[in-house]
């Protein structure tokens, strides 16, 4: 693949240049111009709802009625009111839950991938297949059982039971192996074994090899997995809604849902302000790292 592109690049660039120069006048209008028209329409469709949210966030009117005048009035009142609704607490909960989940997912997934990649043990092949099979039953389908499990756990470990952020983190960590292990396993296999052999001869233990050599060399995939885990737990609504019961424990997804739930009485402006605050960092992160995320997407999570 890599050699192919380097071979082709000069010719490709040459044809591109030739085509660009060659397509002018009528031919350009016929073959290229409509593509810009499509682009214009699609960009409008993509951006309009986002502009609408931004406009509603800046509109101090507050209700759904009257939020339609795009950027008619601009004020920061809604952002100020977020505090009264408990939004910042939800955001803090979300950040805590997603960060801890991301770190835990990366560590546990990396450890498992290391074991599968470097050790030969009984049941290794079966373990890999088993992981794939376990992943077939998505956690979203088991939310009733998760609810009942946490209900029972609450009697013994209240900190892990219903309505606890730690309990929610543990549920998310249940999916830490699965897809991530496969993603990382492939990457770990590309790290030459000679490196750990050499370290072993120098007297390094397997733990030292894992922490100081392997984890540094595979850091790109760790970042991707961590990020994907962060974004997916940030966007989870179903399990968070089932687990978290009291308002002060909600995550952003559960909290903002309640703000927008009833159209007639919803504090629409406040919701929009919250949506902007919650989404902008995620969107920027996404755009900034899009090429890594796209790679990870095709290998793992899906939306749409």
């Amino acid at each position: 693949m890599a050699t192919q592109t380097t071979d082709q690049r000069p010719t490709k660039a040459a044809t591109t240049r030739k085509r660009r120069e060659g397509t002018t006048g009528a031919r350009w209008w016929r073959e290229v111009s409509w593509r810009y028209l499509v682009a214009l329409v699609m960009i409008a469709i993509c951006v309009l709802p986002l502009l609408y949210v931004l406009s509603a966030a800046l509109n101090p009117g507050g209700r759904l009625v009257g939020s339609n005048d795009l950027f008619g009035t601009v004020a920061a009142d809604n952002f100020a009111e977020l505090a009264d609704r408990g939004f910042w607490g939800w955001l803090r909960n979300s950040l805590v839950v997603c960060t801890v989940t991301a770190i835990g997912t990366v560590l546990m997934g990396a450890a498992a991938a290391y074991a599968f990649s470097r050790f030969r043990f009984r049941g290794r092949e079966k373990g890999l297949t088993g992981l794939l099979l376990a992943q077939m039953f998505p956690q979203t389908l088991a939310f009733v059982a998760i609810f009942l499990l946490l209900l029972t756990l609450a009697d013994v470990f209240p900190a892990l039971g219903l309505d606890s952020l730690l309990g929610l983190i543990c549920v998310y960590l249940g999916g830490a192996l699965g897809v991530n292990t496969f993603l990382m396993y492939g990457f770990f296999n590309t790290v030459p074994r000679e490196l750990d052999e050499a370290a072993k001869i120098d007297g390094a233990t397997h733990a030292q090899i894992f922490w100081t050599i392997i984890l540094r060399l595979v850091s790109p995939i760790l970042a991707v997995v961590g990020l994907l885990s962060f974004i997916s737990s940030f966007g989870d609504f179903l399990i968070a809604k089932v687990v978290l019961q009291h308002q002060e424990n909600w995550t952003v997804a559960v909290g903002l849902y309640t703000l927008a739930a009833d159209e007639r009485t919803a504090p629409w402006g406040v919701f929009a302000a919250g949506a902007v605050v919650a989404a902008v960092p995620i969107v920027l992160l996404f755009l900034f790292l899009q090429k890594y995320i796209v790679g990870g997407l095709t290998a793992g999570s899906v939306k749409g």
Binding site: K12, R35, P49, N68, L177, F210, F286, V302
Partner: protein
Amino acid sequence: MSQQTIAPDGEQAPPQPPPRARGRAGDSSPARSFSRGFLVKLALVAIVNALALYGLLTAISVQQWALAASMVVAIVAVNWAYFSRRALAAKYLLPGLAFLFVYVIFTACYTAYVAFTNYGDGHNSTKQDAIEAILAQNEQRVEGSQAYPLAVVSQDGELGFAVVRDGQAEVGTAEQPLEPADGATVEGDRVTALPGWDVLDFAAVAGQQDAIVALRVPVSDEAADGSLRTQDASTAYVYESVLEYDAAADTMTDTSTGVVYTPDDHGSFRADDGTALTPGWKVTVGFENFTRAFTDERLRGPFVEVFLWTFAFALLSVLTTFVLGLFLAVVFNDPRVRGRKVLRSLLILPYAFPAFLSALVWKGMLNESSGFVNEVLLRGADVGWLTDPWLAKGSIIAVNLWLGFPYMFLVCTGALQSIPGDVLESARMDGASAWRVQRSIVLPLLMVSVAPLLVASFAFNFNNFALIYMLTGGGPNFVGTPVVVGHTDILISMVYSVAFESGLKQYGFASALSILIFIVVGAISWWGFRRTRRLEEL
């Protein structure tokens, strides 16, 4: 890429030296060297052990035997893995596996188990608990029974009653039956002070009136002995159950009417005329939950509609997003279009915006009376985008298209770029038209890499709870069904409604529906898996 991930271990992996031959393993026993890493490990394992031991003891005290057993397994597994020299791989696998077992595998199995029970509101616990609850709930004041001057007391926020019975001061709470209170100060026939307890004054009583009237303090461990209750917080009476449980015959008898209730096979005491006592208890009901959706008259119609709509929704979601994504990818793959990087960033904005927020924003924009679409785009039209059954379905597909096409666009763009240029070149030389090249060469080659993603996308949309719940909440609802379901509900949102939102919580039925979804999605994923393998072999 996928081949790369699976293939290399065969050729690249030199045989791992057996653990015993490892370097200087023989003389560097961790127990003797006490390296920093060993101390960290020791501390972590100690913490896990302590927590698990605490869990074990608590589980035994609340009689959660399954939990206690799993704690024992956890303790053994952790100590074996981290102190044995042979369990090298287990050291790295254990943390992840522990979470996987508890929160994925166990919950999956538990879902299957619950699906065969009538677990839910009214059937939450064991038969013994149900009997006690029934006896307690059907208590009446015993006619002409003695009145006890009462002192309402509290301890750490828990309310209790203190009375003088047969010359002996006694105290009890809802949890703890009456027992002799040592050191109580009795003035007249009333307790006025009690060590370890606060005797509530008038103001405190007034503040918690409802809780005090609702409080029942069992007279003894026997539910049949009745309990103390009060109406005015100054006098307590003995209440006894109008129902009487006959342990030998296993029946409940109403002492006031003489009606006899016998246990039925659905975990309830039921009289001959069909009336049942609540609560009941949890029993296994076989495949009833699975067949219920097909046999219950009032449920069958809506269920079939939900079932079909789930398929239609998932299929249309994949189809529409893929077609639009592919179209855009082909359109903008032309090197003559400038600024494609910027274009791509703008087109993936809907994908970068968290999906649950998009759904809520669209819900506002599509609002019938004051949404942006009706008010501004359609100049004040009155279209019920989310309230008309068919329009709501259309809106869901459209919003999902908005959410999902960027993903397909990205994927297709990537796949198009990996199609070798010389193949296309030679097709063009052979005189194939642009359309023909797309259809006969680009699409088949594209499908090899994209098909698994389409299957995954189908599986995802089949369970796309957030979109449905946020956008329409499943509505508009069907009328006259025993659970709250609507025209746009898909199976997973129906499960949620059955489990948590339909008045009576029916965990058993909800779990059965979950299993049904799993079977459908699993079968389709498996089929897709096989198909894509065949595509790869081409």
